[in-house]
């Protein structure tokens, strides 16, 4: 039993934390968020140079062979910096899914560009009405000679606003809309005729898009993996995403906790630092308790991210539920303890609060994962 980071992870942690400290102060972050792109392509290139974009890919694919533990370390630092660049969307979710399903040729084609930062992906899976249910896919892919015709809608595709390619799931078979069998995954260029991308910002300052496609034709070679067989991989990549998001949340919580304690130490009311008021002290302690346990759950999530399916899913649901609840407590308490100042857009507190809130929604909220976990107890 060993909860210590290994050497590679410690190295990664140091470089990531140093990067955040040096290149990602809050004001710079805000100006990047306000730019047209919503993040910095220059920073993305930095990520490439630091080797982060290749982190989870096999060495034969040009990557570094890292796993959930390494991504965890990186994402925790990204959480501390409220990083805007689409690492979760392009690398953790789509990149890993692509690498898992794609054949040698497809990978040779795309992975180098993904790793060198010249190309970005987004995962288009959820649909209006599917909520957090992964099996529910209504989009259809009809086989048509040597091509497929895709029709359907995809909801709130993370970083869907500026991806070069989408991974679009669509049904090539299966009994009805909620069969895990019959779901296929396609690589679709953003500029494909028949694809409409409606982009927007999200509440946390990131961006996403809704996709609509009608009789969108893709070549057979756009299919990733066997037809109808993508579900298991999609589920797996959602779990990778959960582990990564949880680590990002942990980073957010660290800053919120630290900022709040400092505020309590310095802000004075009634002629005394407000941190002398016992009720506020205990609220800060509750934050500390949530934070400490969140770290443990983030470790657990990373450790279980490659376990056998049932064990993996239960552990990841437990982690996502815990992190969701802890994040809510941290965000709400930090706001409350900061008083009016916590409501202001100018301070970082409200932005960490918002990011923790949207993290809870992404990939299934705390209540969804409570239900998943609860059902796993049967």
């Amino acid at each position: 039993m060993d909860y210590q980071l290994n050497e590679l992870q410690q190295m990664l942690q140091q470089s990531a934390e140093k990067y955040i400290e040096r290149d990602y102060d809050f004001l710079t972050r805000q100006s990047r968020a306000a730019s047209d792109l919503g993040y910095s392509q220059q920073q993305w290139q930095q990520f490439a140079e630091l080797g982060w974009l290749g982190l989870p890919f096999n060495e034969e694919d040009g990557g570094f062979g890292g796993g959930a533990g390494e991504i965890m370390v990186l994402m925790e630092a990204f959480g501390r910096g409220l990083v805007l660049e689409p690492y979760l969307a392009s690398i953790v979710l789509s990149g890993q899914l692509f690498a898992r399903l794609g054949n040698t040729e497809q990978k040779a084609d795309l992975l180098p560009k993904l790793i060198d930062g010249s190309c970005k992906l987004a995962l288009a899976h959820s649909e209006p009405g599917s909520r957090y249910e992964l099996e529910r896919v209504q989009s259809k892919a009809d086989s048509n000679d040597a091509s497929y015709l895709l029709s359907g809608q995809k909801s709130v595709v993370l970083n869907g606003n500026d991806a070069d390619y989408y991974l679009i799931s669509a049904r090539t078979g299966g009994a009805g809309d909620i069969d895990a069998e019959g779901i296929s995954l396609f690589l679709v260029a953003a500029d494909s005729p028949g694809l409409t991308v409606r982009g927007y910002r999200t509440a946390d300052g990131l961006q996403a898009a809704d996709l609509t496609f009608e009789q969108l034709e893709v070549a057979e070679s756009a299919l990733l993996g066997e037809p109808g067989n993508a579900f298991e991989a999609i589920e797996w990549c959602f779990d990778q995403g959960i582990a990564a998001l949880s680590a990002e949340a942990l980073g957010c919580m660290e800053i919120l906790h630290q900022t709040t304690v400092e505020y309590l130490q310095t802000r004075k009311q009634f002629d005394t630092p407000i941190g002398k008021f016992q009720v506020l002290q205990h609220a800060a302690v509750d934050m500390f308790i949530a934070l400490s346990q969140s770290r443990s759950m983030v470790y657990l999530a990373a450790d279980r991210a490659d376990s056998a399916r049932d064990q993996r899913r239960a552990a990841l649901s437990a982690a996502k539920n815990f992190i969701g609840r802890a994040g809510r407590l941290m965000g709400q308490s930090a706001t409350q303890l900061h008083g009016g100042v916590g409501m202001s857009d100018e301070l970082n507190v409200s932005h960490y609060f918002k990011r923790l809130t949207t993290i809870n929604t992404w990939l299934g909220d705390d209540n969804h994962h409570l239900a998943q976990y609860s059902d796993s107890l049967l």
Partner: protein, 399 residues
């Protein structure tokens, strides 16, 4: 004991409802139903409609433009207004300054200010909080130096709601630094157009501009703008805090939001069924609904005590705490209900609804998460809930 409303009270409710049905302008109604934030003109439009009917100041004495309603009637009126989702009546002139002038103002001040409050031609804002005096209001530092016929005011106010709409501000200032810090506070009126008044917007976590910081630099406030005695500011502020406590529970508005929550959850789908069919979700709503019922009954019991001539008992103090907690829970459930479609942020929709634009996701989704963020303020302002509990501990429990 007869907890239902009397037939007379129900008839009054109908009268109010019919009035709103007839007079609430459709474009404004559409905008409000879309969850958009009303602007200055929207507020004024609706207030002037109420004013023309004579219903703008239910709790003022009749001779000054009040309605002569019983507390129960006022409560029913609030319920109907909330159910119709009209813009709320801005409290600064009507429920804050008005009663203060009526109790503490000179006859001149009443003559000068009350009519323009009633017809909404003057927009007031409240100058209480300061950057270094939030929950500890009495430590405020804005100085008013006696210059004979006027005070020279210097300092800064913060979190000033709609200062950028306001014509005038009522304001707590320090006229003396002797004695207990509560003693040197005075209550004055100033003009937002006066030289030296500067309004700086504060954007809050929903991305919108509602509150401000107001800088006061050598602002001249004529002595006749002092309300009550010099040094009576704290007494007036406390009077206001105790005033209208039955309104702050926000029960009517929360009931309206609960209806909205149900409507939305009936439209959202989960596992191919309406979300509302899911026990897991609905049970959480049910618990808040029961809490709201308990708050409503407590609110009405306090009202009933008032009507029976027993002034609001200590129970009134808890209404703000529970009222805001429940409001916050409802905003949370609303955002939860729409899942991923809570995430997109459309500032223009928050200001004016989708209008002709095709919505992203369901048309009701866009304002929900920003509302959730925004409502965190309710447990902070008006005396944070922690402060409220301190007050109950001391004043009610003797601790």
């Amino acid at each position: 004991m007869q907890l239902d409303f009397t037939p007379e009270e129900e008839a009054f409710r109908l009268e109010v409802r019919e009035f709103i049905e007839a007079e609430y302008p459709q474009p404004l109604r559409d905008k409000m139903n879309a969850g958009a934030a009303p602007n200055k003109q929207d507020y004024v439009t609706w207030q002037q409609i109420l004013h023309r009917k004579g219903w703008i100041a239910p709790r003022w004495p009749e001779q000054y433009g009040g309605t002569g309603w019983s507390p129960t009637q006022s409560y029913i009126f609030d319920e109907e207004i909330s159910a119709a989702q009209t813009p709320r009546v801005m409290p600064f002139g009507l429920t804050m300054l008005g009663p203060v002038l009526l109790s503490f103002g000179s006859e001149d001040q009443k003559q000068q200010y009350l009519p323009a409050i009633l017809d909404s031609t003057t927009w007031w804002c409240q100058g209480y909080s300061e950057p270094d005096a939030g929950s500890d209001l009495a430590s405020l530092k804005t100085q008013a130096v006696d210059k004979g016929d006027h005070y020279l005011v210097n300092g800064s106010k913060i979190w000033t709601t709609y200062a950028h709409y306001a014509d005038k501000m009522f304001c707590l200032v320090r006229t003396s630094s002797e004695g207990r810090k509560q003693q040197g506070i005075s209550f004055v009126l100033l003009d937002m157009n006066d030289p030296g008044v500067e309004v700086a917007p504060i954007i809050t976590n929903n991305g919108l501009h509602t509150v401000n910081q107001v800088f006061l630099k050598d602002v001249k406030v004529p002595k006749e703008n002092l309300v009550g005695e010099e040094g009576a500011g704290w007494t007036i502020a406390k009077y206001l805090l105790g005033h209208e406590r039955t309104v702050i529970a926000g029960v009517a508005a929360s009931k309206q939001q609960m209806k909205r929550l149900k409507t939305i959850a009936e439209q959202e789908t989960q596992q191919g069924q309406p979300l509302w069919q899911d026990n897991r979700f609905r049970d959480r709503v049910a618990e808040v609904s029961i809490d709201l019922l308990a708050l409503e009954q407590t609110n009405m019991r306090v009202l009933s005590d008032e009507s029976a001539g027993r002034g609001p008992g200590p129970e009134a103090s808890l209404l703000k705490i529970r009222g805001t907690e429940i409001q916050q829970m409802i905003t949370e459930l609303l955002a939860e209900a729409v899942g991923y479609y809570g995430l997109p942020y459309h500032k223009e929709v928050l200001l004016s609804g989708w209008g002709e634009t095709e919505p992203v996701g369901p048309d009701y989704a866009a304002p929900l998460l920003p509302h959730y963020f925004d409502w965190r303020k309710s447990s902070i302002y008006g005396g944070s809930n922690e402060i409220q509990k301190n007050i109950i501990a001391k004043a009610v429990l003797g601790l």
